[in-house]
């Protein structure tokens, strides 16, 4: 998935911006992250109507940036996950589950 980093102050961003939120520099680089480490998880039982009735939200740390992603299964804190993004979702899968 694409994330952004300021060349000037090294702040990282999930959302694309024209200027750095921290130092106002316009030198922002796009880069890819494909995996991360789970910092925390929350299981949700009241969900939006376009999504499953229950799922997990994971707080992920990867290459200097923190963000959230969704998983249908529980993945523990400290576990490594692979990240997938398409037009409608940012999801992840435990690397232990991959062949």
């Amino acid at each position: 998935m694409k994330v952004y980093r300021c060349e000037n102050c090294s702040s990282s961003f999930l959302e694309k911006r024209s200027r750095c939120y921290n130092c106002r520099s316009d030198r922002l680089l796009e880069y890819d992250v494909s995996s991360g480490i789970v910092l925390d998880t929350v299981q949700l039982f009241a969900t939006p109507d376009n999504l499953p009735e229950t799922y997990y939200i994971l707080r992920i740390s990867s290459d200097g940036i923190t963000f959230f992603c969704r998983s249908p299964t529980q993945i523990g804190e400290g576990e490594k996950v692979s990240l997938m993004e398409d037009d409608n979702s940012i999801c992840c899968k435990a690397e232990r589950d991959q062949i």
């Binding site: 959302e15 039982f45 939006p48 109507d49």
Partner: protein, 308 residues
């Protein structure tokens, strides 16, 4: 004009109306906050409310209740507090709401009711959140020299401030610090020359129980990590040193989104004039309101006092 700022719409409307009057652009403004939320299924309203999140965070399936759950877990981890302590906010606020004829829920609940209720976003349960409510509130704001022509019980806006935070939650430095709450509060105290000790009671934005505790710290009423102690020690009860949410707050009074900020000001009006009946606080000269949009996208802090 229409002011649409999600959960902060009411506070923003008051902020704008106050600015328009102070600038001399208008003399008097009628502010109406209203929301009809029960006409759609709850999963649809969850989806609509989640639309205020940034695009990519929304894609992750994030919702406001899930953010509150992350905040609660962070608070418990940081300060060694149990879930029962956090949920005690709902016990207090439902007790207050039971004394408020305008509240959505007018029935006290105890901790065992709460701990048996359905989990919404683990570890937070049904009673840890405000209900989905319909509701409306209104008030008239006018120039100081015209106030007496409307009522003998006018309340003055001593100061009102607003501040915006990064709406991308995962980019914030800490889950336990809501910049806009801290900055809007700092600004309004600086603007008025008052201190936190001058505030007699407060209405804050308890969309979730954990938010009342964290906001009370971010506003500066209590030190970091001691908001729960104030709750535990009864300081935030109606009879306490600093009553918080004597109306029942969003948790019991309800949170019809666009009406909430206006309803907070209405509660302050009633309290300052001694018209709050069984939920009347003892000291009621200076009231504070904190209305927040989204999960801290922006906030409006207001300080009110009797008109003299």
């Amino acid at each position: 004009m229409r002011v649409d700022n999600t959960s902060g719409s009411g506070g923003s409307a008051i902020y704008i109306a106050n600015s328009m009057i102070k600038s001399g652009y208008v003399n008097t403004v009628l502010i109406i906050g209203a929301e009809k939320m029960t006409s759609v299924p709850s999963r649809r309203s969850t989806s609509i409310i989640a639309s205020l999140l940034s695009e990519r965070e929304r894609k992750s399936g994030l919702t406001l209740p899930s953010l509150a759950a992350f905040m609660a877990k962070a608070y418990m981890r940081e300060y060694g507090v149990g879930m029962e302590m956090i949920s005690s906010v709902a016990v207090k606020n439902h007790r207050n709401g039971a004394l408020n004829q305008y509240a959505h829920f007018q029935k006290p609940v105890d901790l065992s009711d709460i701990m048996k209720s359905k989990i919404i976003a683990d570890p937070l349960r049904l009673y840890d959140f405000c209900p989905v409510s319909d509701g409306a509130a209104s008030l008239i704001l006018t120039r100081d020299d015209m106030a007496q022509s409307f009522t003998g019980k006018a309340v003055k806006i001593r100061g009102i401030s607003s501040y915006s935070s990064n709406p991308v939650i995962s980019e914030r430095k800490s889950l336990l610090e809501i910049d806009c709450v801290k900055e809007a509060s700092d600004k309004v105290f600086k603007e008025t020359g008052l201190t936190r000790k001058d505030v007699d009671f407060a209405e804050v934005h308890d969309m979730s129980t954990i938010l009342e505790i964290v906001e009370s710290e971010n506003i500066g009423f209590f030190e970091k990590g001691s908001g729960y102690m104030a709750l535990r020690d009864g300081i935030t009860e109606i009879s306490g040193e600093l009553p918080i949410n004597p109306s029942g707050g969003l948790n019991s009074k309800g949170h019809p989104i666009g009406a909430t900020g206006v309803a907070q000001a209405c509660e302050v009006y009633q309290q300052i004039n001694g018209l709050a009946g069984p939920r009347q606080v003892k000291r009621h000269e200076v009231g504070f309101t904190l209305n927040m949009a989204g999960f801290g996208n922006n906030a409006v802090a207001g300080i009110y006092e009797a008109f003299s």
